[in-house]
């Protein structure tokens, strides 16, 4: 019967992770929640150090056998939420990089078509470098104003 408590807590944790994954949240609120959690973490960690039996008592309270098990469960939830927030942040950064790249690409074409030299076209390559082949020399960019205008 007591097991129900830990099950409930863990399930809620997983649900929260899932929700943060799919829903967008206001940034400031997000940060506040993180700070509250951090304070809670510090309090629990300090009391666990000062009163070694505290964790086991807490564990038994929610229906887990040992304190170490409780820590393990908490770790799983913490890790999942870390993955979720990182995933969201990556997505956001991807969008920013895309927007930037697009702006640059379009601005460059506009310059080219106006007849300005824009320098060699370079690719920032995060993937493994291409197989060894003779350097193609400076790419013939559209530096010639003969490029078609719309």
């Amino acid at each position: 019967m007591e097991k129900i408590w830990i099950q409930l807590i863990l399930l809620v944790g997983v649900a929260v992770v899932a929700v943060t994954l799919t829903r967008s949240t206001a940034d400031a609120r997000h940060q506040a929640v993180r700070r509250v959690l951090l304070v809670g973490f510090v309090l629990v960690a300090a009391s666990a150090i000062l009163y070694p039996t505290f964790l086991s008592q807490l564990a038994r309270l929610v229906g887990v056998g040992r304190g170490t098990d409780l820590v393990l469960y908490a770790l799983v939830i913490a890790f999942l939420s870390y993955v979720a927030t990182m995933y969201r942040r990556m997505k956001m950064m991807d969008r920013q990089v895309t927007a930037l790249t697009r702006e640059i690409a379009l601005a460059k074409v506009r310059l080219e078509q106006a007849g300005y030299p824009t320098g060699p076209t370079e690719t920032i390559d995060s993937a493994p470098p291409p197989a060894l082949e003779p350097a193609p020399g400076p790419t013939p960019t559209g530096t010639d104003p003969a490029e078609r205008r719309p």
Binding site: T101, A105, V109, Q113, T121, T123, A127, T139
Partner: protein, 233 residues
């Protein structure tokens, strides 16, 4: 919104831009552009950070090249091409066209003609409206599943979803804003075009599965990625 008068057929689809997302297709892109140029004088290739000489080949063949400094994915390239046509040209129509030579220029031409004749804002190419396209069994199953998922989420009744050949009129194109950088954009563009409530039609096209395009085709596992991308926006 400037639309051309339907009676005056302009020379070689002068009011139409071909948008070609391009990523490492140096061996074929030149031929693809040269085959299309007599019909479509305006071609913009969005070089998505190719590491081979694709961009140079496209430029040499006579296309305008817009260059992504880093590889972002086909959806991003497509959106850049659409943004280019909408913001920097006065084109009436744009045609999205694959770089690997799968699509027929004659199909694209007929689709633009259909859009003009029937005053359509969007014409989707479909390889399943007739039996010219020879797709393998597994490919068919995957594509049909993609069609089903897309239809569920977009409310349109399409027979083909992940077909890169589309004609989009300027007013519809201006309302497309793809955020799916990778392959899920194929469903996303249908969703966004459907939301415009503008008139659309499907048109039977022939997709040529060459050895070259097969080698680059989407794998079964990739459809898992597409699903996840669509759920976790």
């Amino acid at each position: 919104m400037s639309r051309p008068c339907h009676n005056v057929r302009m020379r070689a689809n002068d009011d139409t831009w071909l948008v070609v997302p391009l990523y490492n297709e140096a061996t074929v892109i030149g031929d693809v552009i040269r085959a299309a140029l007599p019909t479509f004088a305006n071609i913009v290739c969005v070089d998505d950070g190719s590491t081979d000489s694709s961009a140079a080949a496209a430029r040499a063949a006579g296309a305008l090249v817009v260059h992504h400094a880093t590889n972002l994915g086909q959806g991003a390239a497509l959106q850049t091409g659409i943004s280019y046509v909408v913001t920097q040209t006065d084109a009436a129509y744009l045609v999205t066209f694959d770089a690997d030579g799968q699509h027929q220029v004659s199909d694209a031409e007929a689709m633009v003609a259909l859009a003009r004749e029937e005053d359509l804002a969007i014409v989707f190419g479909s390889r399943f409206l007739d039996d010219r396209t020879k797709a393998g069994f597994l490919k068919k199953v995957i594509l049909k599943t993609a069609v089903w998922v897309t239809n569920q989420s977009t409310g349109l009744r399409l027979t083909d979803a992940h077909n890169g050949l589309r004609v989009i009129r300027r007013d519809a194109a201006a309302r497309v804003n793809l955020i799916q950088n990778r392959m899920a954009h194929a469903s996303e563009i249908v969703l966004q075009l459907g939301r415009t409530r503008l008139p659309w039609r499907e048109y039977p096209v022939h997709v040529l599965y060459t050895e070259y395009s097969k080698g680059k085709g989407q794998s079964v596992l990739n459809s898992v990625n597409i699903l996840v991308d669509l759920v976790f926006k």
